[in-house]
């Protein structure tokens, strides 16, 4: 479970961490690590690689935290770094995504699937669908549906307009809805 940190404490933590205070930085870690891990996992599909990406992201965040002028932008910034690190690590390791899980019927390294058959099927279906996406599209999905970023926040991270993000997400939604057989809108 992820710690919750109020805005005032967050601003204080960012300011102190930017001056090299490890304890303040640890407060930021406690508040955001889980979100970053979720995003990295959706991008790369591998638990170990995702954890590695998040630690690399924290290292990068340590060196660049002073560039954050608005604490409200910290979370989008952090999850975007985690997404990029996951994408780069997966590429550098030539990792295939977790499509093998569905094809072979085996659990790939680091992938836990639920014990209940329906949940397992859901997870494998989603894993399969994500595996068929381009890395940038998985990143969009991760930032939007694992981290809950707005289209404008994603746009800033991607160098796109919010409208452009929405259009691309709309296409992805149609594709995933069809592949996952989620034909009935919630």
């Amino acid at each position: 479970m992820q710690a919750v940190i109020d805005n005032e404490s967050l601003r204080s933590a960012v300011a102190n961490a930017a001056h090299g205070d490890e304890v303040a930085f640890a407060r930021i870690v406690a508040a955001h690590h889980d979100d970053m891990a979720r995003v990295a996992f959706v991008v790369c599909g591998d638990v170990e690689l995702a954890q590695e990406a998040v630690q690399a992201a924290w290292q990068k965040a340590w060196t660049k935290l002073g560039s954050i002028r608005d604490a409200d932008r910290l979370r989008p910034w952090l999850v975007s770094i985690a997404a990029n690190e996951a994408k780069q690590l997966a590429r550098s390791r030539h990792r295939r995504w977790i499509r093998e899980a569905a094809i072979d019927g085996d659990e790939p390294s680091g992938l836990r699937v639920g014990s209940d058959p329906a949940g397992r099927a859901d997870e494998l279906d989603l894993a399969n669908a994500l595996a068929g996406l381009e890395p940038d599209d998985r990143t969009l999905i991760a930032l939007r549906y694992a981290a809950g970023l707005t289209s404008d926040e994603i746009g800033r991270a991607f160098g796109m307009t919010g409208g452009g993000v929405r259009a691309r997400l709309a296409r992805l939604l149609n594709r995933l809805r069809e592949e996952l057989h989620d034909d009935q809108p919630a």
Partner: protein
């Protein structure tokens, strides 16, 4: 679970958010944020490529995070759910950072965060700020695999102030990198320090399994505000201070302080 942003694109988003959230939850593990922060700092100092900390290229970095996770698992700790308070009693004990390379320390200097403000402490005195305190290590002794530092905390301000009797200690190098970080303090009382006077404590540490320190070390004491005071070796100490010896690389390092006393 992730909340859907307030700029909806399609009704299907709520279904997909739920599915992605459930799917992604499997990557969440208990962590020790202090150890993760220390590893990030250490990695940044080394200037290594991103990702090496847990990767095959760096056994040391992997040790940091694996150790952090194992420490949490061993203690059955789950980071303060919903508390927003890193100082939860369930917080893991220590972080051992193997790649530190301490260098010689100058004189003791209090460090201050940008928002250090005095707060009221029961007993009538304001809480000490870092500007009011100067730390000095007056003794550094070794015993049975431990190192014990005697630390003097002097009020260099013009008025008296109070501090909790127990503070969170850390062993640090001159760059501010924490080699061992203690548990969050659980003070039982406050100690008043009149202007010009000092209080002392002994800080006991063991099992540092990182790189050999090359210079004098410091003791950092965190105030409740999370600002800190660093104590460097006093003029009466000769020779570099040595870190506590490694008793077992698979065991966590430890650092604890005795209550401050006049």
């Amino acid at each position: 679970m992730t909340n859907l942003p307030d700029d909806p694109i399609d009704p299907y988003e709520s279904t997909l958010t739920r599915r992605v959230g459930t799917f992604a939850e499997q990557v969440v593990r208990p962590i020790d944020p202090v150890a993760v922060a220390a590893a990030a700092h250490a990695g940044a100092r080394r200037g290594t490529l991103a990702g090496r900390l847990l990767g095959g290229a760096s056994a040391g970095g992997r040790l940091i995070l694996v150790g952090a996770v194992l420490a949490v698992a061993a203690l059955g700790v789950v980071i303060g759910a919903g508390s927003g308070n890193l100082n939860s009693p369930a917080q893991t004990a220590t972080a051992n950072v193997p790649d530190a390379t301490p260098t010689d320390a100058p004189a003791a200097t209090p460090t201050s965060g940008p928002e250090a403000t005095p707060t009221s402490v029961p007993g009538g005195f304001e809480a000490c700020t870092t500007d009011q305190l100067a730390g000095t290590i007056t003794a550094w002794e070794g015993a049975a695999g431990h190192r014990i530092a005697t630390v003097q905390l002097r009020n260099v301000g013009n008025i008296g102030c109070s501090v909790p009797d127990l503070l969170r200690p850390a062993l640090v190098d001159t760059d501010g990198h924490a080699l061992i970080v203690g548990t969050p303090a659980q003070p039982t009382s406050t100690v008043t320090i009149r202007a010009g006077r000092y209080v002392t404590t002994q800080v006991d540490m063991d099992n540092y399994c990182g790189a050999d320190p090359t210079g004098a070390l410091r003791i950092r004491l965190y105030l409740p505000s999370e600002d800190s005071v660093e104590a460097a070796p006093g003029s009466g100490l000769t020779g570099p201070l040595d870190a506590p010896p490694c008793n077992g690389p698979n065991q966590p390092a430890d650092i604890q302080m005795q209550p401050l006393q006049p």
